[in-house]
């Protein structure tokens, strides 16, 4: 077998294995009856519509979307000034703050979740809705922090200097040069945080698991209390949404560079 063919088969095999669970989920989600069968016996899209028509699933969907939208915004709002300061100023101690921003995300999620649980319990707010917003917001800071740092790092300082020699003061430079160049990084940082918040289970569970049901929590609960293909439908929607968001980032931004490549070919 030629090396090239072997290589292609290898990549193909990995691709199949990566996609297999998703394919099975998709198949299972289309099953007409409320049973876990693959290939599906009889096709039905009712489980997908269930997500919006069934009260329980719909409120979980709304909860997840709300938390994702707001906590991703919080993450960006915390990350932006940090990334800006690190680029704008020389102040080595600020790297500690960068470490603090990255830490909740790099550590195993159970640790962060437990930390928040202790915190909110001690503070007396345990179970209240806003706690998951703050917790996710802090947890996800790492993502926009990384994309924004990369974004600032990619700004050629001579471009800023050129603007200055042409008469732009600091505020004008910010408005006409820096912000336009940073927009794709802000957007992709928000998008990453959004998708991850949507999927996040353990922190949500440990902070508001008993009062608010997000989609991942509801999926897990459904596993214990009774199987329904709606779970699979939710999973497929999640994958689809993630693919859509990352696809959009790839389309409008430079995904390869965001992930570490140095050159930018299209």
């Amino acid at each position: 077998m030629s090396a090239r063919l072997a290589g292609r088969l290898f990549m193909g095999a990995v691709g199949v294995l990566l996609a297999a669970p998703v394919v099975v989920l998709a198949g299972v989600s289309l099953n007409a009856k409320k049973t876990l069968v693959f290939p599906p016996e009889g096709l039905s899209l009712s489980w997908y519509t269930d997500i919006v028509t069934d009260d329980g699933w719909r409120s979980a969907l709304v909860a997840s979307l709300t938390v994702a939208t707001l906590s991703a915004a919080i993450a960006v709002l915390v990350a932006l000034p940090i990334a800006w300061f690190l680029w704008r100023r020389i102040f080595p101690l600020a790297e500690i703050v960068r470490g603090l921003g990255l830490a909740p995300f790099i550590l195993p999620p159970v640790i962060t979740a437990l930390g928040f649980l202790s915190f909110w319990a001690t503070a007396g707010f345990y179970g209240q809705g806003f706690t998951v917003l703050v917790s996710h917001g802090i947890f996800l800071v790492a993502l926009p922090l990384v994309t924004l740092s990369m974004g600032f790092g990619s700004i050629d300082r001579e471009i800023v200097e050129a603007g200055a020699t042409m008469g732009a003061d600091d505020r004008t430079l910010l408005r006409t040069v820096i912000l336009p160049l940073m927009t794709p990084y802000v957007v992709s940082g928000y998008a990453f945080a959004f998708v991850l918040s949507l999927n996040e289970y353990i922190i949500a569970y440990m902070t508001v698991g008993f009062t608010v049901e997000t989609l991942p929590i509801k999926v897990f609960n459904s596993l214990r209390y009774g199987y329904t293909p709606t779970m699979a439908a939710v999973a497929v929607v999640f994958v689809g949404l993630a693919a859509l968001v990352f696809g959009l980032i790839a389309r409008f931004g430079d995904l390869r560079r965001l992930l570490g490549a140095l050159d930018h070919r299209t």
Partner: protein
């Protein structure tokens, strides 16, 4: 046109003096080149003139106006950066129109001016292009047009042609000079290429180690270098150790009549074209080690008592000698320069 005056301008980074006590007057309307090897301080000096760096000591004046404390965005100097620094998120016309747009000029005026400048740099019709799709030479012109858009008082360029290939570079040198003459704007160019400086400048400022070695018109810098560094940096030169002797100066390989050294010992600078290869009577005798045929000129490397001397001449003006042959070198005494 007002003169730019630099008075004792110094820039220190810790213990290192990147620029050391520079005094310079740039007459209004002239084309000046800051010339020197990398690390000599020429770019730092330019950046201080632009206001992108603050001098540790000294003052920078334009006419009567003391600009030392004035921030870059208020000096009104147009600058072209070595990396060109074009805004990637704006089109060619938007780049050129940027300085006018931020000054609040109406859109129609901005558009018109951008088009005029595109004509000036011979890029008419390129206004709506994205800067990423331009060639090196085209980007160069956009950078120049942009820096000139707001009719600056001074035009500063940092190694503007270093990214271009040789042929394009030579063409741009001429264009830049012609542009400057047409606009009459005081221009300061930083370069490490001495041929570029000699081509374009009214005044060449040779720098090394943060100091000015010589500031003068190109021909005088070439013919009367102030010291060994300038002699060697501008064009190529034979630098030989000379000792006073009866009737002239003793150099490796012979004696040169008609020259003298203050203090008995000195360095002599002789341009290759002032050193003639001859098979007959000569000042210096030696052996040919290498011949470099460059087409229009032929360079002959001669070893005289361990020192290599280079003689350059047109092919028709030199005897045909091969490596290993014994030859003589005659010095054009009038052109030889005694250096301190």
């Amino acid at each position: 046109m007002t003169d730019l005056t630099l008075q004792n301008v110094t820039k220190s980074f810790g213990h290192v003096k990147a620029v050391d006590g520079v005094d310079l007057t740039v007459p209004g309307g002239t084309f000046v080149c800051l010339l020197g090897p990398s690390g000599c301080g020429k770019t730092t000096l330019l950046r201080m003139i632009a206001g992108l760096e603050d001098p540790t000591e000294g003052r920078i004046r334009l006419g009567e106006e003391d600009l030392t404390a004035v921030p870059a965005h208020r000096r009104g100097f147009g600058m072209v950066f070595q990396s060109l620094a074009l805004f990637p998120h704006l089109t060619v016309a938007e780049n050129i129109g940027y300085p006018l747009r931020i000054r609040g000029r109406p859109k129609a005026e901005v558009r018109r001016r951008a088009e005029d400048l595109l004509d000036l740099v011979q890029l008419s019709g390129y206004g709506d292009r994205s800067v990423a799709r331009l060639s090196g030479g085209q980007r160069q012109r956009v950078a120049i047009a942009r820096a000139l858009a707001f009719e600056p008082r001074l035009f500063l360029l940092d190694e503007p042609l270093s990214a271009l290939d040789a042929k394009l570079r030579e063409a741009m040198q001429v264009e830049l000079r012609q542009l400057q003459r047409r606009l009459g704007i005081t221009t300061i160019v930083v370069t490490h290429d001495q041929r570029e400086a000699m081509t374009m400048a009214d005044m060449v400022v040779v720098m090394s180690g943060g100091r000015i070695r010589q500031a003068d018109v190109p021909s005088r810098v070439y013919r009367h270098p102030a010291d060994a560094f300038v002699a060697d940096f501008i064009g190529s030169s034979n630098l030989v150790e000379a000792v006073a002797a009866p009737g002239g100066l003793k150099v490796p390989g012979g004696t040169i009549p008609g020259l003298s050294c203050p203090g008995g010992r000195c360095t002599l600078s002789i341009r290759p074209e002032d050193l003639t290869l001859t098979l007959g009577e000569a000042h210096i005798r030696g052996t040919v080690t290498f011949v470099r045929d460059l087409g229009a000129t032929v360079e002959t490397f001669v070893d005289a008592e361990g020192v290599t001397l280079v003689s350059a001449a047109q092919p028709s003006d030199r005897p045909a000698v091969e490596p290993g042959a014994a030859v003589g070198l005659t010095v054009d005494v009038a052109k030889a320069v005694v250096l301190p």
